[in-house]
Amino acid sequence: MTYLPFLISGLGIGAVYALSGVGLVVLFRATGVLNFAFGAVGALGAHVAWQMLEWRLPLAIAILAAVVVSALVSFLYGRLLAPLLSRRDTVVRAVGTLALALVLIAVMGVIWGEFPRRLQFPTDQMFLTVFGVRLTYTRILALLLAGLMVGAITALLSRTRLGLDMRALANDRDLSAILGVRIRHTETAAWVITGVFAGLAGLLLGDLVRLQGTFLTFLVIPAIAAAILGQLRSLWITATGGLAIGIAEAVLTPIAAISPYRAAAPFVIALIAVAILGSTAQAGLKDR
């Protein structure tokens, strides 16, 4: 069996892992928070989109609503709750987001239940055939979107005042404050940006994987693996890492001995990354 079809099948989800990983890194760089609620925030947005489509509202409104809801939840947490933990260490701040994730899982469970739904876009029906595999336009869109968003964020960081402030915060929070960087404003902006990333990733995962709150919440783990590969700093390495994780999981499929356990690929890759890059990542954390 050839590996090429699996390479294609891994592209779509890999692109979403890339998108998610970059969303995590943007937030981490600006605020020092590793957002475990990223998947849950995206899942909430995707459920909202599904509900809108059930109510026969136009697709554009559903997509917009998903991104707005995700950005809003992220904004509220970033504005109201995250600052309460801003003086605590990285672990505490990360665990704080875990609380948000649990609350969101519960909210989705109460409103929509755990029965998996199907979120469909018209692009699911359109496809190119590559190596005998149908590559749907949704997957191609995911790839384009991942590239576009990384480019946009890179431009934002390097060319705008907000980007400069974010980079300053990433380097030295206290010094930035002395120099007049509006910390809360900048951090809130980062939360909104990560919320937008989460909304888009949630929509794509709801379509490509399945629309189920708990399941999508845990898909933050491959994204964290990608972010670790990028040492929580580099956007492009994170994006490439996310893509590689998606493809790795897919191309392990034809290897009979590993195939039943291939879902563990993101975790194994993250472990290896931590083992190899651990010391440098540690240094990055100490900076904060």
Partner: protein, 418 residues
């Protein structure tokens, strides 16, 4: 006519998950006019409520039936005290709860158990304690290979092979790919059955075991499609089945390959969720009668749920299983002298159950006295997804699982099978 209308109303009520159409009166026990007030008969149950999935619909339905029974005279005036415990999908918890129910609460019988972990953890303990379990839904192999444990459902393997039998007889399948979860004694057990039957009947079978937690269903589907099978049989929870079907549709396989599933995908919401792309292309095995069947016992089940259950209790196959387990227990207990309801007398009465009929079952249910294992429900139906609903398309057919040879031989010996 009135009955037909009330049946229709109950079906609608089921669909809307409301009780508005419940006008058929529930019938339980002797249908006495007075509630039972005597000394309670303690019956236990272990279910996996909290954890990866909620299996407690079975015990909810059994509880509704016992509540109905108690309100209508109980077991010769003695009410049933039904104690339900949640094992949280943890074998250690399951073992502790079994000890609590059997040793501390002095339960005389276990009824309606539905747990993924309990059979493996407690089968030996039940045997040693001399208590019998009339379970609702059994899933892993251990539930069907224990001396004191008899489930009312068919189990994933018998159900999977029921679907395979249909694929062979009606769809004329010559090659098949079986996809199961990589969980020992579940996925391998079911797919091994297909492989065994393939050897016996001379068709081509391949097995794919997958991690139910994978996000990448497309690769699994590509792997299954690579050998160009006539049919693909799934033995997975519905939460994993739906993404696989979505991925298959994305690859256009719904047009070229027939998909079948064990009973785990038989849920009223599945055809609507997977959509019109699967009309006439996705078949599912049913361990019990159509959930909306207008037959008398199925209607009584719905009436019991409406009158004695919660509005929020799902009316699903697990609930059918729990209801049947409670009815079987009632039948056995009714045969006893009400002054002599002990664990010994109850176990003996359950062991004697044979020829228990209900239109929810395909064939009469029996315990199988002195048998080392039990799998009385091994005759199943098939339905196909059509227009957002399941359409029942086959009569009851025995599962062609070669491993059921001992069961079939026993059925012959007691005159149940031809």
């Amino acid at each position: 006519m009135r009955h037909y209308l009330s049946g229709l109303a109950a079906g609608l009520a089921l669909f809307l998950i409301s009780t508005c159409g419940a006008n058929a009166a529930a019938s339980c026990g002797t249908d006495g006019s007075e509630a039972a007030t005597g000394e309670p008969i303690v019956i236990g149950a272990i279910t996996g409520k909290t954890g990866p999935d909620d299996f407690s619909n079975s015990t909810k339905a059994a509880k509704a039936y016992f509540d109905c029974l108690n309100a209508k005279g109980g077991i010769h005036g003695r009410p049933v005290k039904y104690l339900i415990e949640d094992d949280q999908w943890n074998p250690e918890t399951a073992a502790q709860l079994a000890a609590k129910l059997v040793n501390d609460e002095k339960a005389v019988l276990m009824v309606g158990n539905s747990s993924f972990v309990e059979c493996g953890a407690n089968a030996d303990f039940y045997k040693k304690s001399g208590i019998v379990v009339v379970a609702g839904v059994g899933v892993p192999r251990e539930c069907f290979f224990a001396e004191n444990y008899a489930a009312t459902n068919a189990g994933p393997r018998a159900s999977m092979l029921g679907a395979m039998g249909y694929a062979l007889d009606q769809l004329k399948a010559k090659s098949v790919v079986c996809i199961g979860p990589n969980i020992p004694n579940v996925g391998t057990w079911s797919c091994d059955g297909i492989a065994l039957l393939a050897k016996e009947k001379g068709f081509v079978a391949e097995t794919i075991l997958m991690d139910p937690g994978t996000a990448d269903s497309t690769s699994t589907i590509l792997q299954a499609a690579a050998s160009k099978p006539d049919v693909i049989i799934l033995g997975l929870p519905k939460g994993v089945t739906i993404p696989l079907l979505t991925a298959a549709e994305e690859q256009g396989l719904n047009q070229t390959v027939k998909f079948l599933s064990a009973a785990s995908a038989y849920d009223l919401s599945v055809p609507g969720t997977i959509g019109p792309g699967w009309d006439g292309n996705f078949y599912v095995n049913m361990e019990f009668n159509d959930l909306e069947a207008t037959t008398p016992d199925n209607q009584n089940w719905l009436a019991v749920m409406n009158e004695y259950g919660q509005t929020s209790d799902p009316r699903d196959t697990f609930a059918q299983a729990g209801y049947l387990a409670a009815r079987i227990a009632e039948k056995a207990l009714m045969s006893l002298d009400p002054k002599d309801v002990t664990r010994e007398s109850t176990s003996a009465a359950i062991r004697q159950v044979k020829g228990f009929t209900s239109d929810i079952f395909c064939a009469p249910w029996y315990f199988g006295d002195s048998q080392p294992r039990h799998n009385a429900n091994s005759t199943t139906r098939m339905a196909v997804s059509e227009g957002g609903k399941w359409k029942v398309i086959s009569d009851c057919a025995p599962s062609p699982d070669p491993e059921l040879a001992d069961i079939r031989a026993f059925e012959k010996s007691i005159g149940l099978a031809p």
